[in-house]
């Protein structure tokens, strides 16, 4: 079930941690609960990870012997400064906001059309799982023919929240979060950890 604006307001004000949704910073007065839109806009943060193409020519995140992945370089672009995303380039960015999800909520990250119509994709792995906490990493890609000028602070996307069900919340009480990215604020590529099935298939 998708959460309405008033549901979101309740979750943001919830006293109990197992119900509480945290968005920080949430600018006072900017979250208009009378709006009909069920989404919550988020803003582009200052931390970027740019993939350098000089040394490695291909992505290979699989932890196999002798394989090397493209190494990223981290950049900090302060508020008020521009970042140019060139045609065909993909960089990792983050949200300005820190999100802390209770175990019965998840969200889908969706780009705003004002940017999408100019060729900017902001995300490929769009689901934010229950219990996640940290800034959300964005995969920014310019699909257009000319550079896109990005400035930290612009509202590049929005979140649509969904209730997962009580089973998820019960699981959250028993088990640890165990997310690779919990508590993270850096746009990192992440270590590829194959599942048992993947290991079986990859090593055949």
């Amino acid at each position: 079930m998708m959460l309405s604006r008033s549901d979101l307001k309740e979750r943001l004000a919830a006293e109990e941690w197992n119900e509480r949704l945290v968005v920080e910073p949430l600018f006072e007065g900017s979250f208009d609960s009378d709006s009909l839109s069920p989404s919550l806009d988020f803003h582009l943060g200052s931390r970027f990870s740019v993939l350098r193409r000089r040394r490695a020519t291909q992505h290979n995140p699989l932890p196999l012997e002798g394989q090397r992945d493209v190494a990223p370089t981290e950049l900090f672009i302060p508020l008020g400064k521009d970042f140019f995303l060139h045609p065909g380039q993909i960089v990792l960015g983050t949200t300005l906001e820190w999100f802390r999800f209770p175990y019965d909520l998840m969200a889908y990250v969706v780009g705003r059309s004002i940017w999408g119509r100019r060729g900017l994709l902001i995300v490929t792995a769009s689901a934010v799982h229950p219990g996640s906490s940290g800034t959300i990493t964005l995969e920014l890609c310019n699909m257009g023919d000319v550079a896109v000028v990005l400035r930290p602070g612009v509202a590049v996307g929005q979140l649509f929240f969904h209730k997962v069900g009580d089973e998820s919340r019960k699981a959250g009480r028993r088990e640890s979060r165990r997310s690779t990215f919990s508590g993270s604020t850096r746009p990192i590529l992440g270590e590829y950890v194959p599942s048992k099935v993947e290991r079986f298939l990859l090593e055949m």
């Binding site: 509480r20 910073p25 802390r100 165990r178 919990s182």
Partner: protein, 168 residues
């Protein structure tokens, strides 16, 4: 020995649970009677009275719980425990009040880190037992994000206040 002197002169410090593991180790008590221990005892005798007087003359705002600081610190630590930046729920006051939160964040974070129970639970709950540095990294990220957020919220409030006064 230090525990005894702290309890006698500065008990409000000695009761803080972050010192418990140090006091309960028992290693230092075993040295009593040694020459080093006697020298240490003499140093404690000479210094603790003066230190206690100094601390009492310049009271710590936290020890005196000025303006409900202990409540704010507890709130910050509960936020950290739940992987939420410690700035969440803090109201925005004037510039000095907001700037002072910097020290409060650092105090809360260090106190949280030194608490064996709280930090241990934080590590376990989030599945970082095999790599405690991830927990320390998350703690650092939470504090840094709180500082950035507090500044942004303060600037936003100033911006809105100025706009409402019709200056813009």
């Amino acid at each position: 020995m230090i525990r005894r002197f702290l309890q006698a002169s500065l008990n409000h410090i000695a009761v803080d649970e972050v010192w418990t593991p140090l006091f309960q180790s028992g290693r230092h008590d075993a040295l009593e009677g040694d020459l080093i221990s006697k020298i240490a005892e003499r140093v404690c005798h000479l210094s603790f009275g003066a230190i206690a007087q100094l601390v009492d003359d310049i009271p710590s705002p936290i020890a005196k719980n000025a303006g409900g600081l202990l409540r704010d610190i507890e709130s910050m630590q509960q936020n950290i425990e739940n992987l939420s930046p410690p700035s969440v729920g803090l109201g925005i006051g004037d510039e000095i009040d907001t700037a002072n939160k910097f020290w409060l964040f650092l105090y809360a974070a260090w106190h949280f880190r030194l608490s064996v129970k709280r930090f241990g639970d934080f590590v376990t709950t989030n599945g970082w037992i095999s790599d405690v540095s991830k927990a320390e990294g998350a703690l650092g990220n939470l504090v840094l994000h709180a500082l950035e957020s507090l500044e942004l919220r303060f600037r936003w409030k100033s911006y809105v206040d100025t706009e409402e006064r019709g200056v813009r």
